[in-house]
Symmetry: C2
Subunit: 277 residues, 2 copies
Amino acid sequence: MVEGVHFNLKWGTPDLLGARSLTVNLSDIAAMGGKPTACVVNLAIRPGLNRTFFDRLYRGLAKAATATGVDIVGGNITRADQLSITIALFGEVTGSPMLRENARPGDAIYVTGTVGDAALGLRLLSGKSRARGCTRKFLVDRFLSPTARIDAGRALARIRPTPAAIDMSDGLWQDLGHILERSRVGAEIDPALLPLSPAYRALAGTDVSYALGGGDDYELLFCMRSRMSEAALSRRLGVNVCRIGKIVSGDRATLVGTATADSVPRLQGWDQLRAHA
Amino acid sequence: MVEGVHFNLKWGTPDLLGARSLTVNLSDIAAMGGKPTACVVNLAIRPGLNRTFFDRLYRGLAKAATATGVDIVGGNITRADQLSITIALFGEVTGSPMLRENARPGDAIYVTGTVGDAALGLRLLSGKSRARGCTRKFLVDRFLSPTARIDAGRALARIRPTPAAIDMSDGLWQDLGHILERSRVGAEIDPALLPLSPAYRALAGTDVSYALGGGDDYELLFCMRSRMSEAALSRRLGVNVCRIGKIVSGDRATLVGTATADSVPRLQGWDQLRAHA
């Protein structure tokens, strides 16, 4: 995570930044059904930041590590022009990891939680949209304090046949694309089924472009043979789960159902090399 | 490794930079007597560098990985203002790792290879010193293409009692200090025993300040009960080894022998936060 690319110090506290820098890595482990164990942290520090800043950054990081059973076992500090935090996180999988190549035609496609909130939170933080009160707080929190779905991922990985899964860091559409590519399948997504939070609806109405194209939610997207209801699956995973479409043969994702093309103008997803700040 | 801090693209080829970025990590594994196994690579790329550059960088990295049995198993690419390469390297130790806390009074202190070459190479690259021909080439190569003493480290770790060891990245004096601190001991170093290369002597004469204070050699410094001759130890480790002093009780390092204070003006070693470029 690089200052000016992935975060801006004005957006939140150093504690939140420290926690988030681990969470985005925890999310990758969650998407494979793994148990995170230990990490090494590389901190590139720039002039103008004091000891208090780094104490708080580390406090947030350490708190997130403790909460998820992760040991911070080493790392490195270097000087640079830009502040950046690079974490390598280790995890263990018992049994079969969930792989992007596991999707098969006929699988249902699900997501955990709600989607698009973090993209709207980022718009609020960078002044591109405006909202107040609970709506603003909820969306901004979703960007600044994402939750890695570790327990849900581990519960998912126990299901047979092992689901395909990915965490949504670049956006639903783009991350789904990674599964399609690796599994050599296509997908049909019904935009009307996307789980949108009340805050999302308050700010963006029925425009699902942020839910499809916006990144940083760190919810899981997974594909599996469906035998359970959404309610039963939600209970099993400990988080709300929504079916949003299905895997089909082919090699591309298409939108089906009632949504019009007008409502989904930004389907390219997010690119890691595109600036956030 | 951060551009403008640890390296300058004018100094060498992208291939060498890629290889060196792994070697400095391999050296840490070597210093514990470990066998390197796998790494993850984080690349922060800045504008102005083309595909060819990154192909060559990766080629050098991959070549160094293959040569040492390391799998590049993952990583990340991000945008930044500065080019930087961050590697987390995994290694395995069978038996006891060599730890910095293992030094005991009475141990002899050894170094592998020659010391101070890389610091002089860096001076040549940055225009602070001048040399030509073989002298320049040798010293610059020692900075740009260091060798991680993996085999020597593994051979050392089989000796009982297990030696204390560290790789000299920050400089002999500073890295020795890490051992003294962790082992709660002192040291006596005889500057006349420091192994200086012919190229070192050609450029710096009898001034041992670069040998004591200069970093980036990535040779091993180790402390152990001495039963073998330097020649026998050199054969066992597969690299030339020199005894340079001994561990004593106390908590500080002192210079003993014939050297005058004038010849060792820079004993603070190198600091990770001090600029190289």
